[in-house]
Subunit: 361 residues, 4 copies
C-alpha cells in the first residue's frame, strides 16, 4: 500500500497539488447500488470550501467536483469511483518568495530533503487543500453508512486557541462559520479571529467528532483495531498533532473503578472508552478528539534558512487560514466515516454469519 | 492486510492467546546480514516481563523466546523470522468466574459480540500479554536501526495516575521498577502503588517515547505519514486512549509564531513538531506521548451483565497489573522502532537515489 | 488492497469505463527526479491506439493523456502522479442491443451477477480500453527502469490464431501493424485477418514479452515471487487465459538434466527458467508468454440468455478488435515493466546494503 | 504486504527452513465458529507427506501439525490461527557438498546473490518443504468453503514427463501414489519412475485442479481478478513455470465462435473460460492447469560454478523427489482453496447486499 492510498476494503487514493491543474480521487470498494450524484459530494465540499467567511483563506475556489466513473444511471456500479476537482484560483507567483526558503512549522523543508525536489507553489502536495479528496470520499462513506446502518457522523470545534467551547447543540454547529456548537459565543470568536488575523499570527484548535449508531463488532484486533485506524486517519490530516478516543488523556488520572464503563441490561452507563473496547466498537457513540496546530504560514517574521543553508527570515503573505482548525470539522468527519465504512465491510467479510448474541439496550 | 499484521515492508504478524500453549510472531522484510540471536530478543522481553516487582502482575512467566527461522549461523538471511514464546503459568481455572460475565472497560464484551464466541481465559487474544510479540519484533528493529543509522529509541513513565513525572535522566529510568526518569521519587511511587493495590483499584499512566538520530526524510505523505503510522501503532497497544506527537494537545493553545520551530544553519531551535513535519521526519528527535487507561480487571465490584443479558456484578481476582502503564515503556519503544524501521526501508525504496541537499546542523 | 490497484511500492490505481467521460490513473511510489512529460506516456499509448490499422477496432480515439500531478518543471516530485485520458468517440447507442442480453465469453454476465447492476455501454469497466491506464503507468516504469538499470522491456506477437510466428528480429516488430517479429509474413497475416473479419468471427493470439538487463536479485520469496507477481499482472489483462515463464509448459516433458540451466563463469548456458529461479531474478532475460483468447464480441450469432433468463441469440455489431492479441504487446510490456519496477524498489528496500558476491558473466 | 504472506482477507503467513527447527504458519481472517482440530490439517498434510512411496523423497517426516492459537473448545474464535510443524529428520551434513556450489535450475544461486547469505541446508527457505504451510492453510479454507458453500476443490496429475494422463475418475486419484486419475496405468507410471530414479535424472509434470460449486460473483476486477490471484498463487508454488485457466493456451488457436461459452436457461453449454469471465467467477467449475518443471537436485553431473565464481560440476545426492509434480496435487488444491476463500470473504464485504438477479441452471 503506497502513501497516497488508505483503507483496506473502502480504499481511497488521492493525487494533486495546490497549484497544479486539479485534485483527483479514487474510491474503490464501494458497494454497488448506492444512489450517488455529484451533488452528494458537493454538499460536503461546500462545508469546507475556502472563502466562506473572512476567517478562512480568501482563495476563490468553487471546489466543483465531477464524478468520472463508477456510477451508472445514478447508482454506484461497484467499480472504482474516480472524481476530479479542478483548481481554479491558482496564483503560483504568490509563492516565488518562499520557493527559496522554508517556513518554520511547514513541510517545505522535509519534502525538499526527502525528495530532493519540491513543488513550492502553495505547499504543493503538502497543502491542506488536499483534504478536498478526503471530504469527497467521506461524503460517499457517510451516505452509505447512513442508509445502510443509520450511522451519523458529525464534528464540531471544541477549542479555539486557548478558548474551550462547551458542547451545546448540533443545531448550533451549522449556524456559524466556526462549526462551534455554542452559537452564543460566535461574536467572541469572530473578535478573537479578527484580532488574530490583524496580528499576522495564527492559532490552533481542537475538533471533536462523534459517530452515532455504530453497531457493535466493527474493528479488527490486534493491530487493525478500529481505534488504531481512526488514530492513523486523524493524524494523517494536515496539522494534527494529537488524537484521543473517549476519555483520552484524561484516562491517565482516572481510577479503574471510574474509567471502566459499567453495563446494565439497558446499555452502558457511561462512555469513557469512546465506543471502542479492545479495538472493537461497543455499540456506543464513537467519540474522537483531535489537536490541530496553528497554521505555519504567518505574516510574523521568523528565523529560517534558505535552500543554500544560509540564515534568513521568512514572513508569509498570500492567502492562508489563520486557523486551519476552523474548517477541520468536515475533514475529520470524512476521515472517521471512511474508517468506519472500511470496518463495516471488513466486519461482514469475516463475521457475516455470526448470529448476534444478546445485546444491550 | 489482515488485523494481526502490521507494517508495509517491515511486517510483523502475531498470534496467540493468554492461556493457550504459546504466543508466536513472524517478522518479514528484515534486511539480511544482521547479527541476531535469541538473547537480543530476550533482553528486551525481560524488560517487560511479569513478576519483576510487586507492582505488576505476579504471573510467573520467563517469556523465553525461541527463534525458529530466518537466522543462519547467527545472521539474518532475509527470510521470514519466526519466533515462539511458550506460555508457562496458565491457570485457566482462575477465569471461570468471568467466563459468564463482562468486565467493565474490558474487551470481553466486544469480542463476544463480534465473533459470537470467545476464549475467556485471561482475556484470550485481548490480553496485554500479546505485547510480548511486539517487544520481540521491536528488539530486531531497534538493533537494526541502531547499527545502520545510530537511531536510539527509549521510553519512560511520564505520569502515574494524577502524578506527573518530570524527566530527569535516562539513567534513572533503568534504576527503578517504574521506568520513572526521576529516581528520587521511587519511594513515593511505591507507596502510591501499594495503596492502590490494597484498595483493589487501578490507575492510568502516561508514557513518553523518544527516538534520537532519526534521519530526515522518513514518512510517506499524505496518508502513509510517519506520524499517522506511529499513531496507529501506539493506539493499537492495549489500553491506549490517546497519542500525541511533539507538542500534541498543547499545540491547540499555541500561536503559530510560538509553535513553528525556527531553523538556523545549526539546526532547529525547538521541537514542537516532535520531529515530524508534513508526515516526514525532520531529523530532530521523534517524540511521542501516549495515554494508557487504568486496568479494567479490578477487585472493586462493579455493575455489569452476564452472557444472558441479565444484570449482575463483577469483581476480578486473579493476577493483574494494577497499572498496565508501568510496563508499557518497552512496548511503546518497540512499536515506535517497528514503524521507524518500516519507513527506513520505504524511504530507501523510493528515495534511495536522492542526493541529499544541504542539511542542517 | 482493493481490486483496482496493483503493486506494493510502485502502485497503480485505475478507474474509468469505456463510454464514460474518461479513464484515469494514479501512479504512486515513483522515485523523484525522473524527467517526465505527457509525451513519454503518449508515445506508448500511440502504440496500442485503436484505429491504427484496419485489423483493429475502428473506434476513433486519440487517447490523449494529461498528467495532472506529481510532476514539477518536467521532473517527478515523488508525489502521486495522476493522469487522465478523456473518451472522445462514445457511442452508447451502439450498445442498446446488448444491454438486455449477454455475449458468450464476455464479462457482461458476471458483472451483472456480481454487482446486480452494470454499465452495458461497450463493456463498461470490463472493456479492454481500460488497458490505456496500464500502458501509461508502464511507460513511466519503462523509462525509469531504462534510465536507472538499462532494463529494456519488449514484446511481440508469437502466434496469431493457429499460426505460430518465429522470432526474427526486434526491428521487424515495429514495421507491421501486428507487432510480428517476422515482417516477411505480414501479407499472410493481413489476408488471414481480412478473411477473419469478413467471416464475422475472431481469433486468439500468443504474445511474448522479454525484459533484458534485469539485475539478479529482484523478487520476494515465497509468495511475493517475481514470477508470481508477473503471472498475476499478465492474467489480469483482459482475455488472457494462460501465462508461462521461460520454458513454461514445455518444462513438463523436459528431463532435469535438460531443463536446469548450467552455469559457467561466463554466465548461464541456457534460459529455460526464463530469468527467474526460486522467485528471484537470475540476471538473465526475463521471458514471459501469454495466451489471449479470441474476442467475445463477434458478428456470428450465438445462443445466450437475456436479463430475464430467457433463451435468445446474440450477434455483436459495433466496433471491435477481431483479435485483441494484436494490440496486446504494448500492454504486456507495460505490465511486466510495472512488476519489475515494483520489485526493483522492494529489492533496494530490503537488500540495499547487500554487497554483491561474485557475479556471472 | 511482505513476501511471506498472501491473501487480502484470508491471509496466510509462512516461515521456516528445510533443516531449521520448524515450519510455522499463521492464518488470519478465518470466520469464527468453524469446527477445527489438528486432524483437519493433518489429513491434508498426510496426502503430501514425504516417504509415502518409493517414488518420492525418502526423508522421514511425520509432518505432525500443532494448532497453537485461534481455536477454543474446538471452534475457531476469529483470531489468528497459528500452527507449527517441527522438522524431525534433519541431516544438514548431507548438504555440505553443495554449500559451496550451485545446482543448475535451483534457487541456490539467486538467494545467495539477493541476500549475500543463504541457508544451504536442503535448499533452506527455497525448499519445497515450505508447502506444508500452504497445505495446512488450504485445509482450513477447504473445510470452510465446503461447509459454507459446498465448494469442492480437487486436483490430479494430468501429465508425467511426456506422458499425458486422461481424466478417468476422481476415485482413481486416491488409489495410486501419483494422484493419477487413471488407475489402469499405475504400473506404467511406476516403471517410468523406477527407470527415471535409476538414471539419476528427474522429470516435470502437469497438475490440474478443479473447484466445483463456486458461486457466481467472486473476483475483483480489474487487477484483483479471481484468475489473476489464482495465477499468482499457482506460480508461487515451487517449480511451477506455467498456469492456465480453462482452455488456456489452446484458446490461442480457437475461433471466438468456438471459445465463447454459450448460455441457455439451463446454464453454460461449455467451459472454455474455466469458470472465470472478466475476472469474476461464472458459477461453473473453476479449472486450472499448472506446469511443474523437473526437480533440479539430480544425480546427473552438470556444469556449474562455486561461490568463488570458479567453474566446477555438481551432482546432488541426498533425498529428493525425482518429480516434484507427483506430490503437487494437494498443494495446488490448497492454493486454489485459499484464493477462493479470500474472494468469498471479499465478495460478501462489497456485495453482501446484492439481491442476485436471475441465475442460470
Amino acid at each position: 500500500m503506497s502513501g497516497n492510498s488508505f483503507g483496506t476494503l473502502y480504499c481511497v487514493t488521492s493525487f494533486g497539488e495546490s497549484h497544479g491543474p486539479a485534485y483527483g480521487g479514487v474510491v474503490d470498494g464501494c458497494p454497488p447500488g448506492l444512489e450517488l450524484k455529484n451533488e452528494d459530494l458537493q454538499k460536503e465540499l461546500d462545508r469546507r470550501k475556502p472563502g466562506s467567511s473572512r476567517h478562512v483563506t480568501q482563495r476563490r475556489e468553487t471546489d466543483t467536483v465531477e464524478i468520472l466513473s463508477g456510477v451508472y444511471e445514478g447508482r454506484t456500479t461497484g467499480t472504482a469511483i474516480g472524481f476530479l476537482i479542478r483548481n481554479e484560483d491558482q496564483r503560483p507567483k504568490d509563492y516565488s518568495a518562499i520557493a527559496e526558503k522554508f517556513r518554520p512549522g511547514h513541510a517545505d523543508y522535509t519534502y525538499w530533503q526527502k525528495y530532493g525536489i519540491r513543488d513550492p507553489r502553495g505547499g504543493g502536495r503538502a497543502s491542506a487543500r488536499e483534504t478536498v479528496i478526503r471530504v469527497a470520499a467521506g461524503a460517499i462513506a457517510k451516505k452509505w453508512l447512513a442508509e445502510r446502518y443509520g450511522v451519523l457522523v458529525r464534528g464540531y470545534l471544541a477549542q479555539l486557541g486557548a478558548r474551550p467551547i462547551a458542547f451545546k447543540s448540533w443545531e448550533a454547529v451549522a449556524k456559524n462559520p466556526f462549526f462551534s456548537p455554542d452559537d452564543s459565543i460566535t461574536k467572541e470568536l469572530e473578535q478573537f479571529m479578527d484580532a488574530l488575523r490583524e496580528s499576522g499570527d495564527s492559532c490552533g484548535a481542537r475538533v471533536n467528532v462523534v459517530a452515532e449508531k455504530v453497531p457493535v463488532g466493527w474493528g479488527e484486533p490486534v493491530y487493525g483495531r478500529l481505534d488504531a485506524d481512526i488514530a492513523a486517519a486523524m493524524m494523517s490530516i494536515n496539522a494534527v498533532k494529537g488524537v484521543e478516543i473517549g476519555a483520552g488523556f484524561a484516562a491517565v488520572a482516572q481510577k479503574g473503578s471510574e474509567h471502566g464503563d459499567e453495563m446494565t441490561p439497558q446499555g452502558f452507563v457511561s462512555n469513557n472508552n469512546g465506543g471502542v473496547l479492545g479495538g472493537i466498537s461497543t455499540g456506543q457513540d464513537v467519540t474522537v478528539s483531535i489537536a490541530l496546530k496553528p497554521t505555519s504560514s504567518i505574516r510574523v517574521s521568523r528565523r529560517t534558512i534558505d535552500t543554500q543553508g544560509k540564515a534568513t527570515t521568512v514572513a508569509t503573505t498570500g492567502r492562508h487560514d489563520p486557523c486551519v482548525g476552523i474548517r477541520a470539522a468536515p475533514i475529520a468527519e470524512a476521515m472517521l466515516a471512511c474508517v468506519l465504512m472500511d470496518h463495516a465491510l471488513r466486519y461482514r467479510a469475516q463475521c457475516g454469519d455470526v448470529v448476534p448474541p444478546t445485546r444491550l439496550g
